[in-house]
């Protein structure tokens, strides 16, 4: 059984100008020791999914529908106290985007990890917590003797490692990594991704990797979900999705990605820009930018259907083709 299962999750933000439908029906599963990549352009709702799972949405954000099933229980309905005591950090934790700014500059890193442990496990003594923090440092490849250093004494890559150590402090079963590579240099990024992969295998973590970079997903994930304007448009295992993408958006997104080793070609851009989620386009949300838009695309919203085993897609073109 899947450790974490999302069932048509809907998260909206209340703003002065109206309701922003940041996530509008997202479903996927994460299994033990498996990583799923959530990809899409900025503003498509990737990070909102992560914040919804951990229940740390800003005050104007609300889960308005759907289920978040963690080992069978719907955590979208749990109260704040229960979430804090049972789920957050102990079962599901997150490595935030931009490790550079996620650490508090006035406390030592050891103190910050200790704080995370003691907050969620109040019976642990300071000394034990610090010992655990040292073990975590070893796990992520930082000298344990540097436990009392401050964030400014660490380089970017080390800070990212420290953030990972902190996320693992209470032995979670699901780790969400929000853009773990951005803001790092390519070589350091490769090191961090390698570390995440090793940890996944060693600790049997389920991982949700949020990124806008498809090539990172191709290298580290088993499954991937492509998001567009708050919806999952295609979902399946990495190899099928990259080798035989079906949704026009996925196809274009993969084409827009430059490949260092491939022949020099002209890159293909997707015309237009992502829609405003205050007022998303009717029908299929991709239709204003799609080359194959038909009448039905403008009117009816396509459902996410299982085209082949484990390969889900939401597109009228594909459902028509397979239907006829």
């Amino acid at each position: 059984m899947a450790v974490l299962k999302l069932e048509s999750l809907k998260t909206f933000y209340e703003t002065l100008t109206g309701e922003v439908k940041a996530v509008d029906g997202a479903s996927f599963e994460v299994e033990k020791g498996e990583s799923i990549g959530l990809a899409g352009e900025s503003g498509c709702g990737k990070t909102t999914i992560a914040l919804s799972i951990l229940r740390i949405l800003p005050t104007n954000g609300k889960i308005v529908g759907g289920k978040i099933l963690f080992k069978g229980t719907d955590i979208a309905k749990l109260g704040e106290d229960e979430i804090r005591e049972k789920i957050r950090w102990k079962e599901i934790s997150i490595v935030f985007q931009g490790a550079m700014n996620a650490l508090n500059p006035v406390y030592s890193i050891g103190y910050q990890i200790k704080e995370a442990i003691q907050l969620h496990e109040p019976y642990v003594t300071s000394r034990e917590a610090l010992e655990r923090a040292k073990k975590l440092f070893e796990l992520v490849g930082i000298e344990p003797s540097r436990i009392n250093n401050y964030p400014h004494e660490f380089s970017g890559g080390m800070r990212q490692r420290a953030m990972i150590a902190m996320a693992l402090a209470c032995n979670p079963s699901i780790l969400i990594a929000d853009e773990p590579g951005t803001a790092l240099d390519v070589i350091v990024q490769a090191q961090v991704l390698k570390l995440l992969n090793e940890l996944k295998e060693k600790l049997g973590l389920g991982m949700i990797l949020i990124t806008h970079d498809l090539s990172i997903i191709a290298e580290t994930c088993e499954k991937t979900a492509i998001m567009y304007a708050g919806k999952i448009v295609e979902h399946g295992d990495v190899v099928t999705l990259f080798k035989e993408p079906l949704h026009p958006y996925t196809i274009k997104l993969i084409d827009a990605f430059p490949d260092l080793t491939a022949e020099r070609t002209r890159m293909i851009a997707i015309p237009g820009s992502p829609p405003n989620l205050l007022n998303p386009p009717s029908g299929c949300r991709f239709h204003p930018r799609c080359d194959f838009a038909m009448d039905v695309c403008r009117k009816v919203e396509p459902e996410l259907i299982e085209e082949r085993k484990g390969h889900f897609i939401a597109c009228h073109l594909v459902s028509k083709r397979s239907g006829s």
């Binding site: 890559g157 240099d185 260092l260 020099r264 997707i270 820009s273």
Partner: protein, 350 residues
């Protein structure tokens, strides 16, 4: 007298071949250095005599030819952005020489340099910060014309044409808008239009697409390529993304800690990278293909501080192909290994 000595030294360091005929090169740089003094506290300045410098750019030479996109690539802190800024004299160089179409511009004063500004422009990284939020698009595009004293009807015509060139059509619709009314991609198009409105011959593009979404990047880059062909502009394209550079650049120089470690045609680099750093950089680029296995990244650690760069070859502290004490003591020169393919590494200097 002193200058002559420097030039003759340069001739020894950078033998024939680096310098191609004058009419083909738009920008030529010889032994350019930019050292930023480290500000010290009052007490430290009392007790320490030594002024420390951040050696952001430390003796680099290259040239940008006519109608060419030349890439400067490297990790952050390698000095690529500083190089771009020094070239446009947004910061003053420490020493070395810079030529624009054969004329030396290294130490020109502000007024003397002004006519060159017309020919040399820049596209900045972040379109959310490089456009003045209080000016309309028309105002933003007119400003360079006003500064260069282009008035009257000609001015409006040029603004219109510039907007059309960057596919912001119809131009009337954009003229009176403010930057916050445009999307990221449209803003960067305005930035491109602003850079090209004076018909420059050389443009520095500092990571022009790194702040944009993937689906929009290709459009901006294609636009740059088209305009380069149409107006015969040369670009210095500063980037950390080798995969992107591969698809739009003709030649490339890889920088590490203020030095060029490899310089060649883009195709040669992909076919046969010579310097261990280049190889590491290329191995680290993720491949958008789940079936291909990544080559193991052997390089450890991160880029050292440019205040106190390692002696000898600057990469020796992280190099997986370290060959002995020579790397630690002798700084390798940038030498031509094959036709037009330069690298600075002791592996090849035997």
């Amino acid at each position: 007298m002193k200058r002559e000595k420097v030039t003759s030294l340069l001739a020894i360091w950078f033998p024939r071949g680096v310098v191609v005929e004058m009419d083909e090169t738009v920008i030529r740089v010889e032994g350019l250095r930019k050292w930023f003094p480290v500000r010290m506290g009052f007490f430290r300045s009392l007790f320490s005599r030594m002024q420390l410098y951040v050696k952001a750019v430390d003796g680099i030479s290259f040239e940008v030819r006519k109608k060419e996109i030349f890439a400067l690539a490297g990790e952050s802190g390698s000095g690529k952005t500083t190089t771009g800024r020094v070239l446009l004299k947004l910061v003053e160089p420490t020493n070395g020489k810079m030529y624009f179409k054969g004329k030396e511009i290294t130490f020109l004063g502000k007024n003397e340099f002004k006519p060159f500004r017309r020919k040399m422009q820049m596209i900045f990284q972040d379109p959310y910060e490089s456009l003045n939020p209080r000016m309309t698009i028309q105002g933003i595009l007119e400003e360079p014309l006003l500064i260069q004293g282009i008035m009257g009807e000609d001015k409006e015509e040029r603004v219109f044409k510039a907007l059309e060139d960057v596919d912001l059509i119809p131009p009337e619709e954009f003229l009176l808008r403010y930057p916050h009314e445009l999307s990221g991609g449209q803003r960067q198009r305005v930035a491109v239009a602003r850079a090209l409105i004076l018909n420059p011959e050389f443009v520095v593009a500092d990571e022009p697409v790194s702040m944009l979404d993937v689906s929009i990047r290709a459009g901006i880059l294609k636009l740059m390529e088209d305009l380069m062909k149409k107006y015969e502009v040369s670009f210095l394209y500063i980037t950390h993304d080798l995969a992107l550079a591969r698809h739009i650049c003709d030649r490339i120089a890889i920088m590490y800690l203020g030095k060029i470690v490899e310089m060649c045609d883009m195709d040669d680099l992909v076919k046969e990278p010579l310097h261990p750093y280049t190889r590491a950089l290329m191995a680290a680029v993720p491949v958008p293909d789940p079936t291909s296995r990544r080559v193991e990244v052997k390089v450890k650690g991160e880029i050292p501080s440019p205040v106190n760069p390692p002696p000898g070859c600057r990469f020796h502290t992280r190099c997986p192909e370290y060959i002995g004490s020579i790397c630690k003591t002798v700084e390798p020169a940038l030498i031509e290994i094959k036709n037009g393919h330069y690298t600075a590494c002791h592996l090849y200097s035997k």
